[in-house]
């Protein structure tokens, strides 16, 4: 499969995503500059984490307006897989490709550390996982406090768009497991069609045991398996 890793000025997890996809998962991957307008040769587009445009004004706001986002919109409309991680998620929100917005973490501090996520539904990125599965992945963000108005939340739930929620190690959704104050412990959401996913935790960081975990492979593996047309396990 062929992956595009989009590079915005200020992206800093681009290299990590590339390594995870190319070196660990053995896929073809290219860096794609933020001015690119054609993504048609890819199977999946990854918007990596980092601080695009310094996160000035609001995280992801300026990058959300960059030329490549038009291409991402078209790519998604045709059913291509789009994964926004951390800053990439913020960019998808700012570009209006996903509903909601991010506020500063409730602690007002940057938070780096492991969280547990419960898989809430099937998407191409959770293709090989089951509902209720629990993953351990790291977060690293200052603006990951997901917000949406109550009606919006109802709508998200009605359309089953919440893909991951923060939970404890046993999969229970508790306030203590919420690292940033996100509404309803939301850690990741998708569009109605399910092909565009935004998530705050970093799967690309846990793809090798030596780095502290391997649960990230399950996500990338799912996308690859989905793209290959394999059955869900």
């Amino acid at each position: 499969m062929r992956f595009a890793v989009v590079v915005f000025p200020g992206s800093n997890c681009d290299v990590d995503c590339y390594r995870a996809l190319a070196d660990v998962m053995g896929q073809e991957a290219d860096y794609v500059w933020h001015r690119e307008t054609d993504l048609s040769r890819y199977d999946c587009v990854v918007l990596p984490g980092g601080f695009s445009y310094g996160d000035y004004l609001r995280a992801g706001a300026i990058a959300g307006q960059s030329p490549v986002m038009e291409a991402v919109r078209k790519f998604a409309a045709r059913g291509g897989l789009v994964l926004g991680i951390c800053n990439g998620f913020q960019i998808l929100l700012e570009a209006g490709l996903l509903p909601g917005a991010m506020r500063r973490n409730e602690s007002l501090r940057f938070e780096c550390g492991d969280v547990y996520l419960r898989v809430e539904r099937e998407t191409p990125f959770t293709h090989s996982l089951g509902e209720g599965d629990v993953l351990r992945l790291p977060i690293a963000h200052a603006e990951g406090n997901y917000f949406i108005e109550p009606e919006g939340l109802e709508d998200l739930e009605a359309h089953d768009q919440i893909v991951f929620r923060y939970c404890d190690s046993r999969g229970r959704i508790t306030p203590a497991a919420n690292p940033n104050g996100s509404v309803a412990n939301v850690a990741g959401v998708c569009n109605r069609r399910g092909n565009v996913l935004g998530m705050m935790p970093h799967p690309e960081r846990y793809v090798e045991a030596v780095l502290g975990g391997e649960d990230g492979r399950l996500l990338f593996g799912s996308a690859i398996s989905f793209l290959r047309g394999e059955e869900r396990p």
Partner: protein
Amino acid sequence: MKAPWRDMGLRDSEYERICELLGREPTWTELGMFAVLWSEHCAYKHSRPVLKLFPTEGPRVLLGPGENAGVVDIGEKVAVAFRIESHNHPIFVEPYQGAATGVGGIVRDILALGARPVALLDSLRFGPLSDDRSRYIFGGVVSGISGYGNCLGIPTVGGETFFHEAYRQNPLCNVMCVGLVPRDRIRRGVAAGVGNSVMLIGAPTGRDGIHGATFASEELGEDSESRRPSVQVGNPFLEKLLIEACLELTEADAVVGIQDMGAAGITSSCAETAARAGTGVEIDVERVPLRERGMTPYEIMLSESQERMLVIVKRGREDEVRRICDKWGIACAVIGRVTDDGIFRVREGDQVVAEVPARALTASAPVYEPPAEEMPEAIRAREADLSGLPRPEDYTAVLRRLLSSPNLAAKRWVWRQYDFQVRTSTVLAPGADAAVIRVPSTRKALALATDANGRYCYLRPRRGGAIAVAEAARNVVVVGAEPIAITNCLNFGNPERPGVMFQFRECVRGMAEACRALGTPVTGGNVSFYNETAGQNIFPTPTVGMLGLVEDLDHVTRPGFVSPGDWVILLGRNTEEIGASEYLKVVHALDAGEVPALDLELEVRVQRLCLEVIRAGLVRSAHDVSDGGLAVTLAECAFASPGLGCRVSLGEELPPEALFFGEAQSRIVVTASPEAAREILDLARRRGVPASLIGEVTEGELSLSAGDAVIEARVEELRELWEEGLSWALS
């Protein structure tokens, strides 16, 4: 105006020397240039003779002191560039920006060598958290490092955080940066090749950070408010772009030299590159991109605007540089050229505003060797009679108090704010004795730690300096690395005071001795003097930045216990030393007593043995004994492994408080399976290293005994005190 040089911080004798060197009186701009480059910060006037004591050579050293950063060879065609630098004064004025720009500055030093910055560490000292202002500075500094470092995508993987009254008016912020560079791509800050272009890239120049005193003068003249110098504000986004652009530039063969711009901006970077290459440089201030209107040549030359680099480019190939800068959206301009006359000439259009030999600026500052004499109060504190101190009644209660005290409590509150995983290379994150960063495409890894104990250095500077090096080395050894080189940041008070000069000289002497014994040359560093307010000087704080090399990722060892039934072995020996300890501070509010002895020969043997048994695969966990003593060390081993504790017995020959809380040096706790433990003990005997079986790993409880004295508690209960201690102190 009378003697304007005095307002710029120059002595009359220094002014005379400048006149002599030039054969005339300096122009206003020249005077400003001399004033900054001959400042203590840039010229090391009080420290140079003492710094000569450091060993600086070794088989791995590729570039030593004098360059933007030290560079050592780690094999497989890879070199490591690393350096530590202070930003102490700025954080007192503006904690967030002061710390942020401190990160920015040291990163550019590493960049100047063509290295990719891969890790940051921060060594911090503040006043007590009971003090409002200290709390404010602490919070601001941590978020400044977080805000700037995280944005750059460089993981902050380690450091130290220490609170003490001695730092109330002079908090310290030392930041270390480590970079990787292919051996054959190392760059230097040289203005080589007559006729080549001098280019300035990055941020436009503004009035940031120009020495305040000089602005009071008439020559600067008319309007006021808009000309006042301002605090430097960092732009991490621009720095990130600058990093990427510079790394692309180092690949371009059009680039001859790269130099960062730190203190004294254009003046120091041009003078240094010319002096290193033995050339001259001529620039035109009218070609410098400016952020503010109406800047004088003086201001342009002295501006310390952040996020700028100087690049020396082969003549006619400037477009290659422009193309790369354009791609990353950063400004660049040709501001001058390399000449052959050794002169640093500054023009403003047709007019020459400064014309001085480059070496006069960089290498001709006077050197001072003021008198040094030990402070009587330090002697008194060291010799204080501690024999009458009451014995604790409840040792468990003492341990609880120690674990939740800000200096011994977990620093998670700090490092949770740092992105310590970006670049997916962090094998050991903050929380271990040293951080471990893997080296891509090899089995190797770097182990990194910073260390300094201001109280030790205050009470007995020479030993304190040696211990800083020894402890930093021990910290990298226990994670499975060989200590290979150090950088250092020497934070002291006012060197014109004999007591401070004594501390300085003795600390350096002690560090040098330890470096020789441990085989870790000093590849660079930084001196920060004048950490003095209202006659109150800081504790002498020589921060050591240690670089260790892990030969194989399989050797990486963690502090946490691994499995119940494992044996707990102490390498090194317990002694009756309680002086200068955190225990005395927390329980008796004393900064007093004799500093623990350091036998360098024993230290080396303990470390070698530890590394040997780790590499042989015999060790399950390893942790060195430091602040808080053996009880705190064992508790930390338990905290690092949910569910486990230990049962340890320390004999009855020594007083329990010394056994539990004394900070005797050269000790390491390792655990191993019983069979492996026997081998370790056997090897220790053969190598002549004291080692003893002190207990075993258990489940759930921490149980320590020294004769009749016991410490007994559930690990989970202690863990909470330790994890939350810092947050409690903050709220």
